[in-house]
Structures are given as C-alpha cells and as structure tokens.
Symmetry: C2
Subunit: 313 residues, 2 copies
C-alpha cells in the first residue's frame, strides 16, 4: 500500500515544469522546483506568479499566495528530490539528457518514491533501464500547459511496477488531472497518434486541393471540436445513432474503412507542402503576431476551463 503524495519535486522548470508546479501546489502539495540553469531558477517563481495572476483574472483561482507559499526553488537536484514522494521530470526531450537526469534522480530519490517523465515521445524504456529504482519510473506526459488542460498519459516501461501505475493514476486524479493508461510503448503514445491521424488527413486534403487550410481549421473549430470539447470520439458516435455505437458502426463503418483504404500510401510533409501551408497561415497571421496569438489562445483556454468548471458534468 503506497502512501499519498505530500511532497513533490519538479525537475526542469520550463513551461511544462512550471505548469506542473502549479498543478501540485494548487492541490495542496509542497513543491520543490529545480532546474539546471541558474537563470531559469532565478525567474521561475516570478513566472509562476504571473501564470497564477492570469488564472485569477480568468476566475480560475481565488488566492495566489497560498499556492506560492507551497512552492520553493532549490539549487541542488539531490536535495530537491531526496524528500519527494513523487518526482515530475520535465527536462529537454533528448534521450541522453533524459538518461543522465534519470540516473541523477535515481541516486538521490527515496526508494519508495515514484518518478514520472513529461516526455512526449521518448518511451521511458529508452532512458531508465540503468536505474536502480527503474520499476518506479514511467512516463507522465501532459498536454501543454498542464495546469489548464488536465489530460496526462501514463506510459509504463516493461519494467514499471503495475502498482506504481495505478497509484499515480489515482494521485493524478486526486490533483484534478485526467490520467489515462497507455498499456504499450507505442510511437506517439495515444494523444499524438490521434492528433497525428487527424493532422495527416488535414495535410493530405490540403495537398490534394480539396480545401484551404482555413476551411479545414473551421471544420474542427466550428464543427467537430464542439462535441470533442466535452466527449470523446467513441461517446460521440455512441450518441449519433439510435441503437448506439454498434448501430453507428453498421451504418458508417464501411465508409470509414473506405476512407482509410484511400490513404495507404502516406506522403511525408514535403518542403513544398510545408511552404504552401505556411504561406496560407502567414496570410492569416504574420510571424510577428504569433506570440500575441499564443496569449489569445491561453486566454481562450482559461475562459473554456472556467466555463467547464461552471457547467454540469
């Protein structure tokens, strides 16, 4: 029986690591943050405070100080990790970097602690094999930013203890995240495979001259995305035929299979294709406006989260 989390270590304090610090501190845990860069360490509390102020302005949190008081920054990785029940690692995504930091964490961690990596693509079997505590390492891949979008993919390595996976699933739910379990280390895990399937079709439709990038975007933002913001693809089709999903599959399964058969020779996103897509996007939004539009996206996300908090489940 594993004890619940009280102390969290966040290793790597970029955008993802800072989001994780907010998630855990908001839930009442003590959070110690470490980053290898002294410059990042010097700014991390200010940047977290700025995010909390944005959240308060959007009505997502009431008070900033109680959250800030639970977050500290440590200069030293070993002292950050040594007292933690759970370590969330969010360093740069390169196998050698992940391997080095995992060994450092392994050497400093309590043997009963658990280590989740924010890796979005590299499976933990690629960098935790040499760890003494490797049965307690797994992937805990969030969507960016984790304090606004709750999904977390838990991906065990072949040597991860099954009890650790179930424990982290419950702990993630307890802090308000939405964990899923990816049972096998497949490329792209689940989230990027689903996104990739849709993206590949979007790029192919544009390449084939079927629709503009703006019109393909509208199809999601003013069409499919409405339902998908509160229910997944299986529930959507379960409710889209009188007899439920088997009824839907009988009616539309052949169409979708035929669509799949039309895409058995996938084309890479060629430089010419990327150039043409880029040109259409830059007509809509110049490169100089990208960062301002990113802030718009974050405001829209916060408004959506506030809306979801106030609506029925």
């Amino acid at each position: 029986m594993m004890a619940p989390i009280r102390n969290v270590a966040v290793v790597g304090a970029g955008l993802v690591g800072r989001g994780w610090a907010i998630v855990f501190a908001q839930a009442g845990h003590r959070v110690s943050v470490h980053d290898g860069s002294a410059e990042i360490r010097a700014n991390v509390l200010d940047r977290i405070r700025q995010s909390l102020e944005d959240m308060a302005a959007a009505g997502l949190i009431d008070a900033i100080e109680p959250v800030m008081e639970r977050i500290t920054v440590a200069d030293d990785l070993a002292s950050t990790v040594s007292d933690a029940d759970y370590v969330q690692e969010s360093v740069f995504e390169r196998t050698d970097v992940k391997r080095t930091i995992s060994l450092e964490i392994d050497a400093a961690m309590r043997p009963d602690a658990v280590v989740g990596s924010s890796s979005s693509g590299i499976p933990s079997s690629a960098f935790t094999e040499g760890c003494t505590n490797r049965a307690r390492f797994l992937i805990a891949h969030p969507v960016n930013p984790p304090h606004l979008i709750p999904l977390v993919e838990l991906v065990p390595a072949p040597w991860t203890d099954a009890a650790v996976v179930e424990w982290l699933r419950a702990e993630m739910e307890a802090v308000g995240q939405a964990p899923i379990v990816v049972r096998k280390e497949v490329e792209g895990f689940v989230l990027n495979r689903l996104q990739g399937a849709l993206l590949n079709e979007a790029w192919a439709l544009f390449e084939d001259g079927v629709a503009s990038t703006a019109d393909i975007d509208l199809t999601i933002s003013h069409g499919l995305g409405y339902r998908w913001s509160f229910m997944g693809p299986f529930e959507t089709i379960d409710l889209n035929a009188p007899g439920g999903i088997a009824d839907y599959a009988a009616r539309l399964g052949p169409l979708y299979h035929s669509i799949a058969l039309s895409r058995t020779r996938p084309r890479p996103w060629s430089p010419e294709l990327v150039g043409a897509v880029e040109a259409e996007r830059r007509e809509k939004l110049s490169a100089a406006e990208l960062s301002e539009r990113g802030a718009w996206r974050d405001r829209k996300l916060m408004a959506l989260v506030a809306h979801k908090h106030g609506s029925e489940d």
Copy 2:
C-alpha cells in the same frame, strides 16, 4: 449579381430539416417547411417550438414567438418551393430518394433559386444530373444539429455554377453559419474524412490493446478537444512551436509520417471489434440511458454555444 435570401424552403422535416428551419427563421428569413409525411407535418411546429424553448432556457435566444411566426408548414412541395430564393433539402439519404426529390424541386423552383442538399455523403453529381437547373444545385452538409453547430460543407458538383457556391457561402455566413468550400467531390467530404481519420486510429489503438475506449475518449474530451473547440489543427500547431507551423513541421513532421506508415494496412471495424467496443461503452452507459445521455449532450452543446457567444473571438 444574385439577390440575398428572403424566402427559404425546407424540404424534409426530420431533425436536420427542423434545425435548418430554426437557423433561417432566427436570422429573419421566412421559412416554408414541407415533408412528404403528413404525420411529420402535423408535429413539426411543436417540435421546433420545443427546440426554441430549450434554446431560450440556455440563454441562446430571447424570444420564441418572432421566430415561430416566420415558419409555416405546407402540404404541397411545389407551393413550398415556388416562391423560395433558397431551398434546403434534407430528405432521407439514399440516392434514388435524393434524385426523385431533386427532380420535383427542379420542376417547381424559380430558375434563379439555389438548392442545397444536406447530404452527408452522397455527392450531388449522383442525383442532380437530370435537373434543368442543375447548375444551381450543390451540397450544403451541416453538422447535427445545425442550429447549434455552425459548420456547413458546401460541395459543388462538376456542373455547379461557381457564382452559386460563392453566393451560398456569403448567405450562410450572413445567417451565422460557418461555411467551408469542398472543392472536389471526395468521399466523406472534409468533415467525415477528418473524423474518420481520428476514429480509425481510435479503433486501431483499442484493437491493439493500447488503451481502453474510456481512456481514448478522455484523450480528446480532456486533452485535444480543449484547443479544437476554438481553433483548428493547423492553427493549433502554428502556435505550438516558436517559429510557427514550418518550425513545428520540421520538428514533428517525421514523427507523424512514421505514425502514418504504421497504418498502411487498415483493418475494417470487424464484428468482433465492434462487439468489444460496444461492450465497454455499455458498461459506461446502458442502452436504456442512451436517449437521456443524448439530451445531456444537447444541454452541454447549448451551454458551450452560450459560452462562445460571450467570449472573445
């Protein structure tokens, strides 16, 4: 120069046709509704009123009566159509049914009117070739229900007048819909191809034992669906790399191509697979609860639409 719509004929008064009647009447147009079934004709105004009451309860409309006053029901197809600037056809989706009704509309319409079909899959070239006014026929495929989800796919046949497409795009925007132009008659048009790509990957992930249907649903409803409820896939990735979409494509294009290469042998949704998916869904929601959950979905949709009306663009 084509004149703006004032009078609309809605032919076929099932769920889709009734939604269209609401869209056009809410925008201030006069709407004449016809259905071949006397029973449906007898109930259509009551059912439209019920939908408007639901919308009023959700804060989406202020007054029901002004909308109801603009909607009439006609027993006779010819008289429904003869005065219309625009005909929205929403009869049962079978080629012979669509062909018969298109010829009837063709015989009764003004030669300067336009006819859009709600067909979700059959292209208009399959059923409008014999129409005298075939240059004025095209597909105008909505998402269900059209009065809550604004996307409309406009799909011209090879013989559709390009000016008709542009006119209908402007008229759809004027009534608050979000039209896109599908430049070629591809199977599934754009919306169902995008949905199908994601669904096929979802079914394959489940079949391969990678994740449960509930966890795949969470990946969308608590992950990817947040951003997609207000921006499309191209804008999403354009904002997900510092240098925009070309930068993103350089980083992640190879991963997505590799994912596509892993799915070049698509499997149909087999009876065994459908049975397994159905079993997981029925554990979450019994068949008896499907219709109640459909009402929940509609309330969630209306709450989302109210939220979007109140938030920045």
